[in-house]
Symmetry: C2
Subunit: 356 residues, 2 copies
């Protein structure tokens, strides 16, 4: 590999002069600078960022910790982080924890060793102790998509209460009064928030809640399927269900199909997340969209802001979710399923905003 002193030798100057030339220092006359740069180019010089990082004490690298990069939700976040980081000349090292606590902490120290300038944590289980540990260390970090009550860190999450409100108010407005809710694991804050919002809306409208229509499930299609079967085969059936996430909703859909309950005529269904496949022709799930990509972007921006000029004010953002109405919701007791208003899916409008 050609170094700065190779260039120095070729140009008949000292290494420091070469360094200044390449960094466009005002101490050097333009003539010298361009001459040296030319030589550097000819020699195919590539500066060694490791050495740079060593002397500057800064690596221009961000760490991104996600539980499952194969999951498009985190994939989109990663895309946002990666793109904005790249635009600021930062690289991002990917840490896939597979949801494993132990790996999380291993990664945390690994990243500290590499002297990353900051961390984006998308993996945090609520109140994970290692976040506390991290908070004590020097490395700045920002939480994304989930937040921890225990630490006072910058974060960017979607406003889950607002999302829940959007979903349930949509149902109420359609005329539903028999509304059920299938939540995620009870230790997931965002799920609880959605649930609470649901209760609030129903309270506001003086609508009673039938506790047998409330369930808690894993965030999987499987779990949604089971919960759906239970609720729908009960003695009284709700006319609408709000699921805390799209996977659960899809499970419910499967259950409904199996029981011969038609959607949306006999059951309205709302999900959460707007995973790409909610828009599929045969699915057409009404759901609450999160600006996932944007979350990644903003998280990276926050982190860069903190690393570059220290935290100024509180960096914390609740992003607005958006209701996407498709074909799984209708007024209760509708018989024909063909009379649906189809709101064409907003073509990833959020994505184009900051993409590429």
């Amino acid at each position: 590999m050609v170094t700065i002193r190779d260039i120095a030798q070729a140009a008949g100057v000292s290494p420091s002069t070469v360094s200044r030339a390449l960094n466009d220092s005002p101490l050097l006359p333009d003539g010298t600078k361009s001459r040296i740069r030319e030589i550097a180019r000819e020699l195919g010089y590539e500066r060694n960022e490791l050495a740079l990082g060593l002397v500057k004490g800064v690596s221009r690298v961000l760490g991104l910790v996600v539980p499952d990069i194969g999951n498009p939700f985190f994939g989109e976040i990663a895309r946002g982080v990666s793109n904005t980081a790249h635009n600021s000349g930062y690289s991002v090292v990917l840490c896939n924890t597979e949801g494993d606590r132990e790996r999380e902490r291993v990664y945390a120290t690994l990243l500290r060793r590499r002297r990353v300038d900051g961390l984006v944590l998308a993996s945090v289980k609520m109140d994970d102790p290692y976040v506390l540990e991290l908070a004590r260390s020097q490395t700045p970090y920002v939480l994304v998509s989930r937040l921890s009550r225990f630490v006072d860190a910058p974060f960017v999450v979607v406003d889950d209460r607002e999302g829940g409100r959007l979903a349930v108010e949509h149902l109420v407005r359609l005329g539903h009064t028999r509304i059920g809710f299938i939540g995620g694991p009870s230790d997931v804050q965002s799920s609880n928030d959605r649930m609470e919002a649901c209760r609030e809306v129903l309270d506001d409208h003086r609508i009673d809640i039938d506790e047998t229509w409330l369930r808690s499930a894993e965030f999987t299609q499987q779990a949604g399927h089971e919960a759906g079967l239970e609720i729908l085969s009960g003695p009284t059936r709700p006319s609408a269900l709000f699921a805390a996430n799209d996977m659960i909703a899809l499970g419910v859909m499967q259950a409904a199909d199996e029981l011969g309950v038609t959607i949306p005529a006999e059951l309205s269904l709302v999900g959460f997340n707007d995973i790409a496949y909610a828009a599929f022709p045969r699915i057409q799930l009404t759901t609450v969209a999160q600006p996932t990509y944007d979350m990644g972007c903003i998280a990276a921006e926050y982190l860069l802001a903190v690393t570059q000029h220290g935290r100024k004010r509180k960096l914390r953002k609740f992003l607005e979710p958006r209701l996407v109405v498709r074909n799984t919701t209708a007024p209760p007791g509708t018989t024909s399923s063909g009379t649906q208003q189809t709101q064409p899916r907003a073509k990833r409008g959020l994505r184009s905003k900051k993409g590429r």
Copy 2:
């Protein structure tokens, strides 16, 4: 940050001794080693990998270049790469190119600057010139999922011909004779391979090909929808379609639904990739599964093998795809009456086979 010399001072030894202690050098007696390690631990020492990388000329970092990390296909590859890299003590820096050539080359030089030990390229458009450039540079790399004819690099791809064969033979075995194919962009090798395999199988079975049932489309649902509409509303309809990827197949499914063509009764449909959502209750797409995660793992293994002990033999792997039969394929004409017409003899040999 506490350095090795801080420890040295605290222990009353020289920095080199500390270094040897931490690296478990046999030159030091066990007593000293453990004593120093203890002090290091108390001080909360974290070794600086940047410095290490500088002196060793090796960074223990791999670069991963993908076009879209939000796409679960690449997400799974990333997961494989990340996990195996991590098991060998390597980190991986994520490069999301958004399919942009320019970004690809920017990333390539950025990664060289960071002195990454190797690259996993999942983004390569067939015969991309920058791969050539890369091939000349020192950095070892391995291609995954797509390969380039022009360079002789290690790669791991799925055997697309075999995949195509599986799909079409499945259709033939069901009794189909009027079979169409919707390929991806014509500069994507894997799509072409699937297509060729398709032709071969049909040839083997002496089944004519109607060229009007052949289309080329982008790898999107949108494009699949258009192609599907064209083919299905033509004067003669195939009884089966093989799509070069699941997104296209889903587009076709949408087209069929719109045209009132029932699947699988009137049209059998096979996709490629087995994206997670092909298994959804309402979709149930028969498709060819790729071991995506494994591809990532093997790619990383290859790369590590090359970086650690230079390439020994040719590292190249064709992974076996697997046919997943769901509900979009059935014997032809299950319900439909005799709309069957004998096809005009297809003109053949538009394109001669290119060798490989």
